[in-house]
Amino acid sequence: MHLNVQIQQEDFDVADEIEALTTDEAGAVATFTGLVRGGDGITGLVIEHYPGMTEREIRHIAEQAQARWTLITGITIIHRIGRLSVGERIVLVAVASAHRQSAFAACEFLMDYLKTRAPFWKQEARGEALSWVEHRASDDAAAERWRKP
């Protein structure tokens, strides 16, 4: 299986990533793009991570997805770090599969686990003021439902 994990400051192009991911066996590609959302005075985000552990955790999560949905032919996960403005892309999860159900399910699974396992931390910027984003219990609940048989 094609697996591409990248932690980077640079932006990415979703179309290019889908292109790189797909083969003739892929009938379906599901993607998720996370964006810096405005509102509440927010002007941007600052994201830090734990180099080394981040890549390791994400690869581990991707291997779990592959074991669970064997029709998957490729996974790309890109997470940006550093300072991002409102409207900028933060994260991309793209899953190619033979059929759509597994592409959707794995994409959602990967996002839920990324939110609860991958060592990233966000600060919200309101002009010069920075404040740490609190972990959301709803994200734990979202990840937890994949444990059910």
């Binding site: 552990m53 990324l114 991958a118 931390w121 609190e134």
Partner: protein, 83 residues
């Protein structure tokens, strides 16, 4: 052991990493957290409530009861907020 701090833990302790010698009193991650809390100041603040903290040993998520050994890479951080 190499000890790493991330996010507000790093800010409160005022550094991103330090070397702490492993010894018999540091059986678990929780023992190390208590040692750090006992330093007072920003350390005491960061380690005041261990339920707010998460830890990793050698880049794996662990609980506070995880054992420690010489040469381990130990990290303390808040619950993650990526994605």
């Amino acid at each position: 052991m190499n000890v790493l701090y991330f996010a507000w833990v790093r800010q409160k302790v005022g550094r991103s990493d330090e070397v702490i010698e492993h010894g018999p009193s540091l059986r678990t991650v929780g023992d190390l957290a208590l040692l750090l809390a006992s330093r007072g100041g920003g350390y005491a603040e960061a380690f005041a409530d261990l339920r707010r903290l998460r830890a990793a040993v050698n880049q794996h998520h662990v609980g506070m009861d995880a054992p420690l050994a010489a040469g381990d890479e130990v990290a303390f951080f808040p619950p993650v907020t990526g994605g």
